[in-house]
Symmetry: D4
Subunit: 147 residues, 8 copies
C-alpha cells in the first residue's frame, strides 16, 4: 500500500508514522522536507531569479514533479495541518487528492476544526495524532484494532 | 464560457467581475456567499447536531453538492485569497481544479506570495485585482487587450 | 441541474419532489416506475423466455439503457430506500453513482440506518423526507434556506 | 490476477475459494470480515461518538479505505449475497465495480433471483457455489474446464 | 437522446427506425450510407492513390472523423448486421462502443447467432427487426410498451 | 511489454510469435484457444441451458473475463484475421482496443484488404505474417531491424 | 460540430475555411491571431516583466486558457503548418489533441512532409489547401463529395 | 521512476543523463535513436512503398508503438530541442505528454526561447544542460541539491 504523507514539515509526525508502521506492508512517501532545499531547488538547479516571485515559482514547479507523482501514485493520502503557517499547500494537496478520488486521512488540531470543515468533508478519517494514522493503516491491512 | 468563482466571500470581488464582464459570453457561478447560510445549511435542512464537528460536517457536505458541480462544469476557475481567515477551502478548490486539469486564475495579495507558491504554480495567471480577471476573460473571448 | 431519482417506486416520493421543485431549474429523471412494465419490457419487446431468469435478465438489460444514461448524465443522484423489498437495485445505483463521483443524497428511514451505513458513507446528505431533498435543491441553486 | 471478494461475511465461502484456488496465480482480497471490528473500527481508533449514526459513519468511512482500494485494484470482483441481512453494502460494491468496468461474478441463491436481476444484469457470471467461482478462475487462467 | 445507427447500409433499416421514432425525442445519426462516396471520399478530396490499400485507407480515415464522433457522442449505439458482406466495420464499431461503456443494441439475424456471441454479450438488447429498436426507444423514453 | 494476441484460433500463428519472440522482454497473452472449451465454458461451469442463445451467451460472458482483462492490460494488441469464419469477435476486439487507445497490429490477408479497411485504419501496422509481428516487437524493444 | 483551427496565423487560411464552411453546421474557433496581442497579453494585463522569458511565459499561459479550452471542447482539430517560423506551438497542439483522442486534420506543404511524418501519423487527413478541409467538413456533415 | 527522454537524437544528451543518473532509481527510456532505422523501420518490416509519403508514414506508425507506450508509461517526460532540424516530433511529444498530465522538463537553447514559449508554458522545468536534468532527478528522488 502506497501512502503519501502531505503537509506540515516542522514536527516529527512523519517519523512517528514510519516508526509505527514498521512491519506493515506500506511504502511511505512525501515531499522534500528540508525547508531550505524545498524553497531554493528551482534556482539552485535552473539558475537564479532576481524576482522573488519567479524564484519561488521555479522551486514550486520542481517540487511539483515529486508531489504530483507522489499523490497520483498513492493508494492513500495523509494530509497534516500543523500549528503554524498558512499551509495552503496542504489544503491544495487535499483538493488534488480528492479530485483524483484518493482516500484521504486528515491529521489536524481541534482548534482548526471549523476552518478545515470543507477539507474534512473530503476525508475518510480525521485524526489528531500520527499514531491514529498508524492504527488505521494496521486495521486496513490486517483487520487488527488497537488495545 | 463557464467560470467558477471560488474563495473569499467578504468583499465585493465577485460583483466587480460580474459588472466588468457584462457583454461577454460568460456564465459566472460560485459557492453560496451568505456566510451564515453556508455554515448552517446542513443542520437547517437535515436536523440539528449537538456536536460542532458534525454540525459543520453536514453543512460542508451539502455545500459540496454545489461547489463540486461548479468546479467540474467550469471552463475556468478563479480562486480568490483575501486578507483574513485561513481560507483552506480556497486552496482545496484550487487543488481540486488543478487535478481536473481546469485552467486556474489565482487572485491574491502580494504579501501572500510565498505562502501561495504551490497554488500559484498550478495557475495560468496570478492577478491582484478583479478587473484583471475581467481583462483576461475579455482577451480570451475577443482578443482585445486593455487600453 | 439534472437530478436522477433512483430507488423505491411504490410511494409518491418522486411526485413530492417534482411538486416541491417547481420553479427551480432542475430536470428530474428516473427509472420507469410502472412495476409491471419494468418487469416485462424485455420479453414484451424482444420475445418471450421460458426461463424466469432470462425473462428477468432481458428486462433488467433494457431498463439499464435508461438507468445508466440517467445516472451518467446526472449532476446529482437521489437514492430512496423504502419500507419494503430488498431494494438491491437502489444500493447498486448508489454504488454506481459513487464510483462515477456523482454527488448523492440518500433518502432513507431511521430503522435502516445501520444496514445502510456503507451507502450513507458515500452520500453528501442523508434525509428522511422528500421535502428535505427539495430544500437541498433550493439551497444549492439559490442559497435560500427553509423557514 | 487480483480478485476482490465482496459481500457476506458469515459463512465460509471465502475460505472455500481460497482453498480451491490454491495453485492458481490469483491474489484474493476482501473487506475485514470480523463483524465487530468492522462495526467499531471508526470509534476505536478515532474516538467515541454518542450518536449511533456517527458511530457507524466513522466505521464505514475507515472500512471504505480498504474496500475502495480493493475494488479499484481488482481484475475481477466477486460479490456474494447470503441468506440473511439486507446486504446493501454488497449491492453497493457491485454497482461501484460495474461503474468502473470491472468484470463481476455474482454468487447468489435461487430465491433471490428476481430481487437481484439488476445486479445480475451487470455480471459476467452468476453462480450459486464458491466452487463455481474457483472453476471460472481456473478456466480463465488455464483454459481447463471441470471434469 | 442521441442514437448512433452503425452497420449495414444496403437495406432500409435506418429509414424504418427514423419513421418509427417520429414523435420521440431522439437524434438519430450514422455513417455516410452512400457506398460509393464512402469508398472514395479520401481520394476525391485529398488526391488519388495508385495503390488500392492507400485509396481505401484514406477513405476509411476520413469516414472515421464522422463515425468516431458519432459513437463518442451517442447515448445509445445500435449495430446492425445484415445478410451480406463481412461487416467487420460493424463489429469494430460494437467493440469501440463497448469499450466506451455505451449501451448497445444489436440488430441481427438468427443464423448469425453463434458467430455474433461475443458481440451479443456486450449488448443490452439483441433484436431482429428495426421496429423492436423503435419499441425500445419508446419504452426507454416514455415507459410505454407495445400493444 | 504485454502483448495480447486476439483473433483466429485455428492456425499456429500464436506459436510462431511465441517462438520468434524468445529472448525479447514480452509477455504474450490471448484468449482460450481450445474451441470446444471456449464454446462450452459457460454451461460446463454455471449449468446447462436448453436455448442455444443462452448457452452461447454464458460462454461468451465467461470468456469476456479473460479477454477484457487481456486487452485492458496490454501495451500492444495484435489482431489476426484468418481465412475462415466470420471472425466478428476479432473485429470487436480491435474496436475495443482502439477505443482504449491501445496500439494495434493487424495480421490479415491481402484478399481481405477492402473489407478490413476500417479496422486497418485504426492500426499502427498491418502485416501478413506472424514473423513480421516478431520483427516489430524486436524493433520496438531493441531498435534492431531484420536482415 | 466544433472545429478548432490551430497553427499558423499569417495567411488567410482561417478566413478561407470560414467562407467555405458557410451553410454547414460548424462552430469554428481558434487562438487569438493578432500576433502582437498574443505576445503581450500576459504583461499587458498582469504587469510588466524585465526578463524576456517571463514576459513570454505570462503571455503563453494566458493564451493557454483559450487554446486548451478550444482543443478540449473540439470535435475536430485542424492544425496548419505554414511556410515560416518554427511553429512548435502547432506541433504541440497536434500532440495535445492526439493524446485526447481528437480527430485531427493536418494542413501542410509538400516540402514539410518528411519533417512532419510523426504529426501526420496522428492525423485522420493530411491536406494542402484550406478548401480541402472545407470539403471534408461538408462530406462529414452531409455525405456530399466535391464536383 | 520512469523517465522518457524525447526529442533530438544527434548529440550525446541521453548518454550524459544516463551517466549522471547512475545510482538513482530511474528507468530511462526513449525512441529508437538510430536515424536510419527509425526512418526505414516501416518498409523494412512491412514492405516497400513507392511513394515517399507512405514510406515515412509506415515508419512513423511503427515508431509510435514505442513512443506512445514510452510517454504513457512515464512518470516524467524530458523533451530536448537541439540546434538543427524542425523537431516537430519533439513538440508533438510535449503536447502529447501535457494532455496526459505528465510532468515535463524541457531541455532547450536560449535562442529558441521565444519560439518555444507555448511548450515551456507546459513544462515544470526548463533547462539548458542535461546535467540539470540529472540534478532535478536527484533532487526529486533524494532531496539533495547540487554543490
Amino acid at each position: 500500500m502506497k501512502v503519501y504523507l502531505s503537509g506540515e514539515i516542522h514536527t516529527d509526525w512523519r517519523e512517528r508514522i514510519v516508526a509505527g508502521a514498521e512491519g506493515l506492508d506500506v511504502a511511505l512517501t512525501g515531499p522534500v522536507t528540508d525547508h531550505g532545499a524545498s524553497d531554493d531547488c528551482g534556482v539552485a538547479i535552473l539558475g537564479a531569479e532576481s524576482d522573488k516571485y519567479w524564484h519561488d515559482h521555479k522551486g514550486a514547479m520542481v517540487n511539483a514533479i515529486r508531489t504530483r507523482n507522489g499523490i497520483e501514485g498513492a493508494d492513500l493520502v495523509v494530509v497534516r495541518f500543523g500549528e503554524k503557517y498558512r499551509q495552503w499547500n496542504a489544503a491544495f494537496d487535499a483538493g488534488y487528492a480528492a479530485a483524483l478520488g484518493k482516500p484521504i486521512i486528515v491529521l489536524s488540531m481541534p482548534e482548526h476544526q471549523h476552518a478545515l470543515k470543507e477539507v474534512h468533508a473530503a476525508a475518510l478519517a480525521v485524526a489528531e495524532e500520527p499514531e491514529q494514522v498508524v492504527q488505521i493503516l494496521r486495521y486496513v491491512q490486517t483487520g487488527a484494532l488497537p488495545g
